[in-house]
């Protein structure tokens, strides 16, 4: 059974790390979709859990490539060179105060207006590369829209769960019930 944990908000982390561990112990290999892997740097996942970064997908769209070059790479390289010892700090401040806010508030909405599918590209790429899942475990509010898009993407409608014991069999901890097999 393929289980995808959607954890794009990264605000119910203990549930994600512990419940994926439970699944691994039951012999499964769950996939966890997060927005940025760096937000989870301090969290320990069980071996066998695959962490996928949504922000790293769908980046082959030419306007995004151009933005990355003009708004991020070039200024950062310039700051790093001109800033000397303070270069690293300047780059981080630029990213925090200018780069990311501009990307989020100006460019992303702009892409959304100009190319209707722009916002969906990362998720579409995820869907294309990772294929169908039997169950989507939604773990935080920010993951609901992504879960909705993934659930609607194919002919096969995955089951939706909010805690892992909805997927593991009742009263028999750790054992997986395949609902389709039971049906």
């Amino acid at each position: 059974m393929r289980v995808l944990f959607l954890a794009l908000g990264a605000n119910r982390r203990l549930a994600v790390t512990e419940e994926t561990r439970t699944l691994v112990q039951a012999g499964e290999r769950p996939v966890v979709l997060v927005d940025r892997a760096e937000s989870w740097a301090g969290d320990e996942f069980a071996a066998g859990v695959e962490l996928v970064e949504l922000a790293g997908l769908g980046r082959d769209h030419w306007p995004l490539t151009a933005e990355r070059l003009v708004l991020h790479r070039a200024p950062k390289a310039l700051l790093r060179r001109a800033g000397g010892r303070r270069g690293k700090r300047l780059v981080s401040a630029y990213d925090r105060r200018i780069g990311r806010p501009l990307h989020k508030r100006v460019f992303l909405p702009l892409y959304g207006r100009l190319w209707r599918d722009a916002a969906d590209r990362p998720l579409a790429e995820f869907n294309r590369r990772w294929g169908r899942f039997d169950t989507l475990v939604v773990t935080d509010p920010q993951s609901f829209p992504a879960a909705q898009r993934l659930a609607a993407a194919g002919r096969h409608r995955p089951r939706i769960a909010f805690r892992i014991d909805q997927v593991t069999s009742s009263g028999r901890q750790g054992e997986i019930v395949d609902h389709e097999d039971k049906a």
Binding site: L14, A15, P141, P145, I160, F162, R163, D165, Q166
Partner: protein, 398 residues
């Protein structure tokens, strides 16, 4: 017995928050057996920093997804557990939180009313209002209040109004502890007749392997927050350990003080004797109680103080502040169970409480008598009987 019974609650133990709502779980374990069917609807607040646009998008996606939600999971006592996420932005007023919980529950139920004749809500507004909004006509509503933030809830006009609506509609309103009861009777004198005392059920089934022989291994179980008095506990522990280097302290729980407590333990030179066990499930916490010698619970305010009774059930003495609940729950067995101390803004009362208990231990106390008395008051059987009597007895019907 009869049924079906539904419970609507904002709190129930989950992987994310293993302690929250442990008493609702205990109540389920105590009361579900013997009923025709028993379903717990856990309206779980998922709070996040959200813009209004995000909030709206999430609400739309939630409505679209809920019909595909998997079957309920199984929980204690053979009950079903339906998890209903309630996505919401931060810092909403209580009435709005309750409204959202009611709306999410409605979506989860597919617009149908709760299929139960008896609906028992936990937490007056946050569980009561969602239950009331989703009950079928003719169902009977019962409520248990445990919230420690009742004053803040009632201070909001909409919160007060929502609460009054729940109180007006329910058949009986159970209150954990006299302090809460007085607070509610003052705020809603017209409904004072509906208020009934009730206890959180405690599991007395598992005895301790070996009786406590010394008071060396201290244990604290609860949130690492100011209200629990945990900073004073650490100071008191350092003072006592200067005289008795064998003492250890285990802190079970998480909270905003975690970092500061670690630093302070190092400053006091007791870091090697203090263990931060983190948040544990109620089962794990109970197991730890059977491996420790004394529970120190210096809380500033408790409506009931379930952990104090759990410690007594685990056969360990307690040092506990007179913080509302414990002086009532331990009434008549104070010295048998341990030592009640005053709430003070320093560590002196905890140190003195420990010294008094240590000096009379093991004499001057009767842990077995305390355990038996508390089992009669708060054991599963006692609490189940109280609930079943209210839900099913013909005399209890209006």
């Amino acid at each position: 017995m009869s049924g079906p019974v539904a419970v609507v609650t904002p709190w129930y133990p989950s992987t994310q928050l293993p302690f929250r709502g442990a008493f609702v779980q205990a109540m389920t374990e105590a009361t579900a057996p013997g009923t025709e069917s028993f379903t717990v609807y856990h309206c779980d607040s998922w709070v996040a920093r959200l813009s209004p646009e995000q909030d709206a998008r999430i609400a739309e996606a939630f409505r679209a997804l809920m019909p595909s939600a998997t079957a309920p999971s199984r929980t204690v006592g053979g009950a079903d557990l339906v998890t209903v996420p309630v996505p919401m932005p931060r810092a909403l007023p209580f009435a709005e939180q309750a409204r959202r919980a009611a709306e999410s529950l409605k979506v989860a139920l597919g617009g149908q009313p709760i299929a139960a004749d008896v609906v028992h809500a936990h937490v007056g507004l946050l569980g009561g209002l969602p239950a009331l909004r989703n009950m079928r006509p003719g169902s009977r509503l019962f409520v248990t209040e445990h919230a420690t933030f009742l004053d803040r809830m009632l201070a909001e006009p909409d919160g007060h109004a929502g609460y009054a609506e729940v109180l007006g509609a329910c058949e009986a309103f159970f209150v954990v502890g006299d302090e809460l009861r007085e607070q509610l009777a003052t705020a809603f004198p017209e409904h004072a007749g509906k208020l009934r005392p009730i206890a959180n059920p405690i599991d007395f089934a598992t005895p301790r392997a070996e009786p406590v022989k010394s008071l060396h291994r201290w244990l604290f179980v609860g949130g690492l927050i100011e209200r629990k008095g945990v900073s004073w506990l650490l100071e008191a522990f350092a003072v006592c350990r200067r005289q008795e280097p064998d003492l250890t302290l285990t802190l079970v729980g998480e909270g905003e003080l975690r970092g500061r407590l670690g630093e302070r333990a190092a400053e006091l030179g007791v870091a090697d004797a203090v263990t931060f066990a983190g948040a544990l499930s109620p089962v794990e916490a109970l197991a730890l109680m059977r491996e420790h010698d004394v529970l120190v619970h210096p809380s500033r305010y408790e409506t009931f103080g379930v952990v104090v009774i759990e410690a007594a059930a685990a056969g360990m003495p307690v040092i506990v502040t007179r913080c509302g609940g414990p002086e009532q729950t331990l009434a008549g067995i104070e010295t048998d169970a341990g030592q009640l101390i005053a709430i003070e803004d320093d560590s002196a009362a905890i140190v003195a409480g420990y010294e008094q208990l240590r000096d009379r231990f093991p004499g001057g106390m009767d842990l077995e008598r305390a355990r038996r008395t508390l089992a009669d008051r708060y054991g599963y059987q006692a609490v189940a009987h109280q609930h079943h009597d209210a839900w099913f007895s013909p005399q209890s019907r209006p």
